[in-house]
């Protein structure tokens, strides 16, 4: 490929990469996407010689007035789009950009046309950055960097060639291997430098005018009133909702983890609600920590708590999740609210993913609660957590039967939990049709269900036994990602479980849902884990990168610097000691074996001298290739011809000149001669006669090679 053709190809590739980014956002109307892709496909196909010449030539040949009219039409459509269709500047501008790109693709005549196409492509990439934060943007960005480097270098060389020749001058020189690798090396260098600069630019952005267009993920089971069966609807949804790291723990956490979201105290026979929905605002400490319980409890949690770093996607709920039970929470928010059942909330949903830290203390049943038979509950607890709808007498009878001779509330709760885990089957294939009494249906008729049914049944059964209990919704930890050391929590990990009240211990978690055996990890799931891990890093270190991270990095650098300084200082003193002892040893050896030392030094000096002399004579120097670029191109083409002929059984002997070999081909394979002779002539003219090697010659040579390739025996 000549530099000229590479230039056109790279210019189109740059536009194609930026446009692909826009398409991947999913914000482009399909008509515009098809139009843009078709225009790019046709122009690229024409550039690399795959056809489309007639169509493109016809379009390119249109008079300038037609292009002006098209541009005016595009501008008018932008106005209409802005005022009537999209009614928003960004989508309207993006649509306008695509129309401009299509017009420009068929109107690349002058230098400024190419510059305008580059500006359009950069604007498209900017628009993409405003429309998405997904991981694929990284791929588009890397491709754009490479395409941009190639394009700009070729654009520059073409301009220089034009200026040197005082007029339009296509660059007929081929893309040599050295040029290819040099340009890619520059692209790699630019990319590395981009990363360095990216992390160094101070993040003083305020985000005042940012419009985040991230689509909120719809969740179920965290609103003020939850109908039975809503969680089942999302149990097959693999959308990642959050990723959880444990900074103090290596590997997955061994204890059962429940990431608590909302809790409900009132069941009306069909749905759960919360009578104590009134929220109070948590107090914020000067260092930004919200203490959920008393400071004393939080101080205790400092020693034995479980610390979590949670990166949560943009959800349609304001609930903040954390492992049961959250003691303190810290993040980039100013207000955190808590309701009467321990649910944590933001005042309003966030429109972008965000990160926060949580410290939790697991529930712990105290011994008196385990053994005490008669328990008296506070009035408030009895009023709120013993409420029962009309569920029929059968449920109470079943509960008593299951509790059997269990003496303590704890044993009764465990008996009910065990009964549900063992006697009922887990199934998502449960009709969500309206049932008059879903709990009775589950307990006596269907005997299959999923977490909500189990948890509701347990709460109802415990309440019939006079044990205060409540339903909690949240998430199970999901899948442990070995590559990133975090739990990846998906919609399908949504879960409901039970909390039972014990006067001495508080609320204790029970989970009546039987565990479902997880599928064996497949290659696909492993790849998925890797991708997810990369996505997490992308979010953490690129999308969410902030001034706080920069300060943390600076602090760790400073600490690292001090450590290195200490180590270097120790190393130097050790080295000094070593040198001193070596000196003493040498002095001793010289006294004892002086002649050996002198001989060794002389031999070393001789070797060094010989090496220097050899280098001075150019023994190691490289010889520059004296051949010109066009000669190299001609040689490459001729060598390709020889390879084709060799594959067809005609081998050129080392002693044969090109013309002798051409005559040999004519003798032995007459039909190949019409390809070989002109190719040989061109090769001899360019290589030995210093003849020019134009782009026409290049095209003709490639056609001849294709013909030779096709003319097999």
């Amino acid at each position: 490929m000549t530099l000229e053709r590479a230039f056109h190809f790279c210019s189109l590739l740059l536009a194609a990469v930026a446009f692909t980014g826009l398409v991947l956002t999913g914000e482009i109307p399909s008509g515009l996407a098809v139009l843009g892709l078709a225009a790019l496909a046709v122009t690229i196909a024409r550039t690399i010689g795959w056809g489309g010449d007639r169509l493109v030539d016809r379009l390119v040949g249109l008079p300038t007035s037609v292009w002006t009219a098209l541009l005016v039409a595009a501008f008018v459509s932008f106005g209409i789009d802005l005022l009537l269709i999209s009614r928003d500047i960004l989508p309207a501008a993006v649509h306008f950009l695509i129309l401009l790109m299509v017009v420009k693709l068929f109107h690349l005549r002058h230098r400024k046309d190419f510059l305008q196409l580059y500006a359009i492509s950069l604007s498209e990439l900017l628009a993409t950055a405003a429309l998405t934060v997904d991981l694929w943007y990284a791929g588009v960005f890397v491709a754009y960097v490479f395409a941009a480097i190639w394009t700009l270098i070729l654009y520059h060389l073409r301009n220089e060639s034009e200026e040197a020749h005082k007029g339009p001058s296509p660059i007929a020189r081929p893309v040599t291997r050295q040029f290819f690798w040099t340009t890619n090396g520059i692209a790699v260098g630019s990319f590395c430098l981009t990363l360095v600069i990216f992390f160094l630019i101070p993040r003083i952005g305020t985000g005042f005018f940012q419009k985040n267009r991230t689509e909120l993920i719809r969740t179920s089971g965290f609103s003020e009133k939850v109908d039975l069966g809503v969680i089942g609807a999302v149990k097959l949804d693999p959308t990642v909702v959050m990723r959880i790291e444990f900074p103090d723990v290596r590997g997955p956490v061994q204890n059962a983890l429940y990431f608590r979201g909302a809790a409900y105290d009132t069941y009306d026979g069909r749905s759960w609600g919360n009578r104590s929905a009134t929220r109070r605002t948590l107090e914020r400490t000067p260092d930004g920590v919200f203490l959920v319980s008393t400071p004393q409890a939080a101080a205790a949690a400092e020693s034995g708590g479980l610390r979590q770093e949670i990166l949560i996607e943009a959800l349609d709920t304001t609930v903040l999740f954390g492992a049961s039970f959250v003691e303190s929470i810290k993040g980039g928010f100013q207000i955190v609210q808590v309701d009467g059942v321990g649910g944590l909330y933001l005042p309003f949903p966030t429109s972008a993913r965000f990160q926060y830290s949580v410290r939790s203390v697991p529930d712990r049943l105290r011994e008196p609660d385990r053994t005490t038979e008669s328990v008296s509950y506070p009035d408030l607890i009895r009023q709120r957590f013993l409420q029962l709808p009309d569920v029929g007498s059968r449920v109470g009878a079943l509960a008593r039967e299951v509790a059997g001779d269990a003496r303590t509330p704890y044993e009764r709760a465990r008996a009910v939990e065990r009964h549900l885990q063992q006697k009922y089957q887990y199934s998502l294939d449960v009709s969500t049709a309206v049932s008059a009494s879903p709990v009775e249906d589950f307990l006596f008729t269907r005997k299959t269900g999923y977490c909500e049914h189990y948890a509701t049944a347990m709460v109802v059964m415990l309440r019939t036994l006079g044990i205060p209990a409540r339903l909690v919704t949240g998430f199970l930890p999901g899948v442990w990602n070995d590559f990133g050391n975090y739990y990846s929590v998906r919609q399908q990990d949504a879960h409901a479980w039970v909390e039972v009240y014990f006067p001495g211990s508080g609320w204790v978690t029970f989970d009546p849902t039987p565990s479902v055996p997880s599928a064996a990890p497949s290659l696909f799931s492993r790849v998925g884990k890797v991708v997810d891990s990369i996505r997490l890093k992308w979010d953490r270190y690129v999308v969410q990168y902030s001034f706080r991270d920069q300060m943390a990095a600076a602090k760790s650098l400073r600490e690292g610097g001090e450590k290195v300084r200490t180590e270097v200082s120790g190393l130097l003193s050790a080295l000094t000691r070593g040198l001193a002892s070596a000196k003493a040893w040498l002095a001793g050896s010289a006294r004892a074996y002086g002649w050996i030392l002198v001989g060794g030094l002389a031999a070393g000096a001789l070797v060094v001298g010989l090496v220097l002399v050899w280098r001075g004579r150019g023994g190691g120097a490289r010889q520059a290739d004296p051949r010109t670029a066009r000669q190299v191109a001609a040689i490459q083409l001729y060598e390709r011809m020889l390879r084709i002929l060799e594959a067809q059984g005609l081998l050129k002997s080392p002693g044969a000149t090109p013309l002798e070999f051409a005559r040999q081909v004519a003798r032995e394979r007459g039909e190949a001669a019409r390809y070989v002779e002109p190719l040989t002539g061109l090769y001899c003219r360019v290589r030995f006669g210093q003849a020019p090697f134009s782009s026409d010659d290049d095209r003709q040579a490639r056609e001849l090679l294709a013909g030779l390739q096709a003319a097999r025996r």
């Binding site: 510059l115 500006a119 950069l122 990439l125 900017l126 950055a129 405003a130 998405t132 934060v133 943007y137 960005f141 754009y144 960097v145 941009a148 480097i149 700009l152 270098i153 654009y155 520059h156 060389l157 301009n159 220089e160 060639s161 200026e163 040197a164 020189r173 050295q178 040099t182 520059i186 260098g189 630019s190 990319f191 430098l193 981009t194 990363l195 360095v196 600069i197 990216f198 630019i201 993040r203 003083i204 952005g205 305020t206 985000g207 005042f208 005018f209 940012q210 690129v542 999308v543 969410q544 990168y545 120097a621 490289r622 010889q623 520059a624 290739d625 004296p626 670029a629």
Partner: protein
């Protein structure tokens, strides 16, 4: 004052390197600024990423352009004899001494009196270890000593956003000879006649025929004139006329009489140089008297260049009444003419003192009349 100091600092700072934006570079910087503003406003890290990419291209531009300008060895060759108002060809060779990396898009500019002069030298690609030569015409409009102070190498590689220049102290000095013009026909005729009238023929080495005589023992056999030998049936040899005696002194007074402007001095210098060339071509032994300086008789190209060199550097000086040395050399011209030498005084201005001293010379040529 402060501004001047800042400017001075930048001049010092950029004494080896200079950097200038191209039109494309200006647009690129504006675009980068716009993206930076957008990133600041929105706090969107993906916009920061784009900003970082745009900035990295600027840094890469600096690194790669610097690489292009390093390890280059440059030689400028100026011809020895350069005449005013006559184009001379200067050759510039640039060698890339880097073992691996090529240089791209090099332009070379001469620096004359602090100003960069584009010579149209443009090397698109200089592979590692290779060298390229380029010639360009130069035209000096004035005689005298000219200095090409240095050379500025420029490159726009890799993206054409900046023009980076490397100032190299490649100083070249050239002495430009006076402009040589065709002499007026009447003057040429007069000089030819004068030459014949004053020539005294004498045997000696030369090209003109002096005499034919009979061969004597010891004569060079190559001097035998065969036609005459055949005609007379005895060996006849050809004797040549010596050229030693065809001597000319060109004199150019440089002392400007009081109250007179040296307006025709340059013309007189040019005329003297043209006469020198003319007589050198005619085979005369040439002597030059320019002001108080004298270049003795001599012949050949080298001697002519010595004469032209003196003429290139001569300058008019105000005449001093007490200083008689200025015309001492001119006083002997009459005697030389009497001894058969051609003596020509080119008068840049009417000067009775010089004219009195030059009594008896072959010819006084007033420069103001040969315009």
């Amino acid at each position: 004052m402060r501004f001047e100091r800042i400017r001075e600092f930048f001049r010092w700072f950029y004494r080896y390197r200079s950097l200038r934006l191209t039109p494309e570079g200006v647009r690129y910087l504006l675009l980068t600024l716009a993206v930076g503003m957008a990133a600041l406003n929105t706090g969107n890290n993906l916009l920061y990423l784009l900003l970082a990419m745009l900035l990295s291209l600027i840094v890469m531009s600096g690194i790669l352009s610097e690489q292009c300008l390093r390890h280059l060895v440059i030689r400028r060759v100026i011809p020895d004899n350069v005449f005013a108002n006559s184009p001379a060809t200067v050759t510039l060779s640039i060698a890339n001494r880097h073992p691996r990396l090529p240089s791209f898009s090099l332009r070379a500019l001469d620096i004359i009196e602090g100003q960069a002069v584009d010579r149209g030298i443009h090397i698109l690609h200089l592979p590692a270890g290779a060298s390229a030569s380029s010639s360009y015409p130069v035209l000096f409009t004035r005689r005298g000593r000219h200095v090409i102070e240095g050379l500025r190498l420029q490159t726009r590689f890799p993206f054409g956003l900046f023009i980076k220049g490397a100032n190299l102290f490649l100083s070249s000095e050239v002495v430009v000879y006076p402009e040589i013009r065709p002499l007026p026909d009447s003057l040429v005729h007069d000089l030819t006649v004068l030459g014949h009238d004053q020539a005294v023929s004498k045997r000696g080495p030369g090209s003109g025929l002096y005499n034919l005589r009979e061969y004597r023992h010891g004569d060079d056999s190559r001097t035998i004139h065969w036609k005459t030998t055949a005609r007379q049936s005895r060996l006849i040899v050809r004797e040549t006329e010596t050229e030693d005696l065809r001597e000319v002194t060109l004199a150019l007074p440089t002392a400007v009489p009081e109250g007179r402007a040296p307006e025709f001095f340059e013309q007189a210098v040019g005329l003297t140089a043209s006469l020198a060339v003319f007589f050198q071509q005619q085979g005369f032994a040439l002597r030059l008297l320019v002001g108080e300086r004298e270049i003795p008789h001599g012949a050949g190209e080298t001697h002519l260049h010595r004469v032209l060199h003196a003429l290139a550097l001569c300058e008019p000086a105000p005449a001093r009444q007490s200083d008689a040395a200025a015309v001492v050399g001119f006083r002997t011209l009459g005697d030389r003419t009497a001894h058969g030498e051609l003596t020509i005084v080119v008068m840049p201005w009417p000067d009775p003192v010089v004219e009195a001293a030059c009594r008896g010379v072959s010819r006084l040529v007033p420069a103001w009349e040969t315009r």
